[in-house]
């Protein structure tokens, strides 16, 4: 393998290891924005699942339009312990979409 190819392959391997392995050790606490959005509200159990009561930014937040996606919430069909597989799929999809777009946009021919 040429040196440039080695670098690119190494970069991809690191991304796959992070998404496929390190993701199991990620904190499940709400992130900064979610913490602020939930500040002032309590989560209560209601007939239709969890509901928010009180005065907070997220009071009127709605369910996600693609909540039924097989990869929703970084899982495969909502299965426990599937975050790594979902992450690997995400890395590969992102690589194909971004790599494809940037390859199409690139300048071709001799460099000036």
């Amino acid at each position: 393998m040429s040196a440039p190819a080695r670098f690119y392959v190494g970069f991809l391997v690191v991304a796959l290891l992070v998404a496929g392995g390190l993701s199991y050790f990620a904190s499940s606490a709400p992130d900064g924005l979610d913490t602020v959005a939930l500040n002032g509200c309590q989560t209560v159990q209601a007939a239709g699942g969890e509901e928010l009561t009180g005065e907070c930014i997220a009071r009127n937040a709605t369910d996600h339009a693609t909540a039924g996606s097989p990869l929703a919430d970084y899982s495969l069909f909502g299965g426990d312990g599937t975050v790594g597989a979902a992450g690997i799929i995400g890395v590969l999809v992102t690589l194909v979409v971004a790599g494809g777009l940037f390859w199409l946009l690139r300048r071709r021919g001799a460099r000036t």
């Binding site: 709400p30 890395v91 971004a98």
Partner: protein, 227 residues
């Protein structure tokens, strides 16, 4: 609450979401045309890999306080590695994939999330890094320090962009002063993590392929058109 890292639907009202959606589309259209100049056979694969790397690292929430976490936004990281125009497209692609496939970040909030992270975050990181590029070019230590500072700035300023959106069209019941204080305070802590991840990544690339780092290819002094 389910796993979510970005703004959900319904945090900001519909007209505000629409306005920022239009702003995001306009800026990304400019980015597509400006990105061409920065993409060639060597940098296009790098940009694709950087995008996939940001997706992966954004999955890793790190604890900042009991009950609160943070994750990479990636603005300074992509700006330093692939430039601001390509970089804004990188982050926008990550946000679109997360929103559509992973139900993370509301579809109607996509314009808001793109504005905060792909535009405000990336260009804040870029402007800070560019203003310090003399230091960045001096040594690998200098580059790593610049990456840390630029990443810290991109996190806090992106959080401020959310506060502006909430001030314009917030749909919830929280007071603006509280939202401002909490967003800035928490994102100053997250910014330290963002700085460490960005510095480590940029440092690793600099150790193997410094020629692939956009910031280091920029002339020491500005000549001609700014990019």
């Amino acid at each position: 609450m389910t796993v979510a890292m970005h703004m959900s639907d319904g945090l900001v009202n519909a007209p505000t979401s629409l306005a920022f959606g239009l702003l995001a589309v306009l800026v990304l259209a400019v980015a597509v045309s400006r990105a061409r100049a920065d993409l060639d056979d060597r940098t296009a694969p790098m940009a694709g890999l950087v995008t996939a790397f940001v997706f992966a690292v954004q999955m890793i929430n790190f604890p900042i306080l009991p009950g609160a976490s943070g994750h990479l936004l990636g603005g300074a990281l992509v700006a330093i590695l692939v430039g601001p125009w390509v970089g804004s497209l990188c982050i926008a692609i990550v946000l679109v994939v997360q929103s559509i496939l992973f139900a993370d970040g509301g579809l109607t909030a996509l314009g808001l999330n793109v504005t905060n992270m792909a535009i405000v975050g990336v260009f804040t990181g870029y402007l800070v890094a560019r203003s310090l590029r003399g230091l960045a070019r001096r040594s690998r230590g200098g580059l790593v320090a610049v990456a840390f500072v630029a990443a810290f700035a991109n996190t806090v300023v992106a959080a401020l962009a959310f506060v502006v959106e909430y001030a314009v069209g917030g749909a919830g019941g929280a007071g603006l002063a509280t939202v401002f204080a909490l967003m800035v305070g928490l994102h100053a802590l997250i910014g330290i993590g963002e700085g460490l991840i960005t510095a480590a990544t940029v440092g690793a690339v600099a150790g193997t392929r410094p020629d692939l780092i956009y910031l280091l290819r920029q002339p020491a002094r500005v000549t001609g058109s700014a990019a």
